[in-house]
Symmetry: none
């Protein structure tokens, strides 16, 4: 019946989907979601406006799929199902991993933080995260889960670390200071102009590791 030559077609489709998502992501991140026009994306991809609608139901759906794809990848990076216990070396590895992901998916995280800064988006994605657990689209609670997971693991780490040491550090305080420093570094890195920035981010990562390991 169907001469759909092969399953290569599926591959080609998948490639085009990703092509569109890649360009859209970059434009969304650079100019903002609202300010990016569909035909801009099309032009950057070298395809027609119409084709984008063969792959994505709407501009918003395109955005959601981008977020989805990226967060799913992040999950895999973090191997979320491992034992959840961190040794000192794993702690260092974790921090370097975070920074590596920021670097590799810089554009995505730029977009992601932009979005999180709008009340409605925040509510849509984060606070409404009480969505059914069997959800397959993997957006809303993905974030909450990720944050909770990370906080739990780190909380554990700092508790054990302060127990051993005699410095009388408060584990919660350590955790909070560390978390805040990491967020500060993240934001600074994501939205600095790599060429003109006075910061050497690799060194700052070393600094943080040195300080909190």
């Amino acid at each position: 019946m169907s001469p759909k030559s092969s399953k290569q077609l599926e591959e080609i489709k998948e490639k085009k989907r990703n092509l569109i998502m890649d360009h859209a992501l970059r434009l969304f991140a650079e100019n903002g979601f609202q300010a990016t026009r569909i035909d801009q994306i099309a032009k950057h991809c070298g395809v027609s406006k119409g084709l984008i609608y063969n792959y994505f139901a709407s501009k918003e759906e395109l955005l959601k799929e981008i977020i989805n794809r990226s967060l799913t990848e992040v999950y895999q990076y973090f191997d979320i199902n491992r034992d959840g216990y961190l040794t000192e070396d794993e702690f260092e590895y974790f921090i370097r991993q975070v920074f590596r992901i920021l670097k590799e998916k810089r554009t995505f995280w730029q977009l992601f933080f932009q979005l999180l800064m709008q009340k409605e988006v925040r509510e849509e994605f984060i606070n409404h995260s009480v969505t059914p657990p069997d959800i397959n689209s993997g957006e809303p609670d993905v974030i909450q889960n990720l944050e909770n997971y990370v906080l739990n693991v780190l909380s554990d780490y700092f508790r054990k670390k302060t127990e051993k040491s005699a410095d009388g550090y408060d584990p919660l305080s350590e955790l909070i200071l560390f978390a805040i420093a990491l967020k500060g570094l993240t934001i600074t890195y994501l939205f600095s102009d790599e060429k003109t920035s006075i910061f050497d981010f690799e060194k700052i990562v070393d600094l943080i590791i040195e300080k909190y390991k």
Copy 2:
């Protein structure tokens, strides 16, 4: 008609200007600049769309004036003309001041960080002078100036501090870690839901002061 009323008129005009800017600021911060419609602002102010154009040449101009007004205030807060040397107590005062400003102008800073995160806006609004052409205070690059000023003062502070201490701390490292922690706190505070957040920001400020003073 009478000379009196003309003075009062000016006051009324100024009040209305501020009314519009206040509502616009809140809406811009909550929903984003692009997503906020002029008639939304008008409705929230209880005035007509047309009136807004009596006070501001365009939506963009409205945004610029909001940024300008707030940054001018921030400058005054920081008393930019003082000697530029910080004692330990002044350092603590400085941090608390930062947090106080964040608290008092929370909405503005929410908007401000949103804007900073869009490349085009960053280039258009921030680097290319924010001040209106007729202003007399004439800071050509408000933000850059502010950041440089703060960094300078702090840099000085940490240099002197590490000189005194015998810990062998690197002043630049200290400065960077401090700056990053402050930025992390800022972001976390601005975009957390004050009612549901697990963080007690006052305490975190104490923590930071304790750590870096």
Copy 3:
């Protein structure tokens, strides 16, 4: 506060609303709802596309309001709250009234019958007519009510008429034949080209009255 000079403004608005509805109705009836473009309507009205959206939320809403307006008028014509009993003279008056309404609102009825011939519209407007009785928009059950009302009144009329006569007519049969003839006349009249038609509709009305009175 508001210099909305007078309530003349309201009148002007109402006039423009009606202007738009009139032109839209004609175009919808002539070319069909889907085939009529908003900017066609705008051009015919001598206004801009945008203005139409100041008065009507969407093309579909415009259609609904047209139907609504017309059906409401029809209701008034029929004085639906009168006693519901027809004498012979009232019967004749009723038929002439029907024809008069068809004539005066010819364009509307053309549109109306067109719409009724699409399954979805039929279901939307007629079969779903079990909508809450307190409805204020007056569309869905308006039609059903009107039909029921007319059928009831006529049913009554034919029952009484055949009782009196000795011809042994069946009242239901009479009603049905009459109703069908009326519908046939209606359709023929609405969709004939008045200039070229071989039918003289006034005479046919006389014929029907003569036959069924």
Copy 4:
């Protein structure tokens, strides 16, 4: 390859043509011509969009061919070449035949009446010849011919009938009333929901025959 298969191929092609036309007809009738999308039709047929364009030059052409196919069939039903004279039994047969055709081709007639009710379509599709250019039966105005033919035959019938009777009926009046009743019945039948309708159409046909035979 073999000559046999080429004949079979023709059959298969013809079957597929008809398959497409059948589904298209139903969808056109239910949702309207404009509102029916080509890919809807394709999906309903279980074929690709592209294939439809192998059989029909355009959506409009598809419509025209549907109309053409059905009208050609109708012509055959009515045996257009007979003597043109109706006996009483033939008159009854004629009416039952009309109703039978309505029943068998209900969907087509639904579509047909819809089309007739749009001025532009009326002009484009009906008056300007429906037949494909290569057809040999060459009726330039199928509908007009059909209507005229029917009216002629019936006119004759009623003339002769009233001549015989002593009731003093006007043959033209009788014809008109009859024609209108038939049209009313037609419309009522075509656009009623067969399941919920209060009318028993078989009985109404009997009624009409009884009345006008």
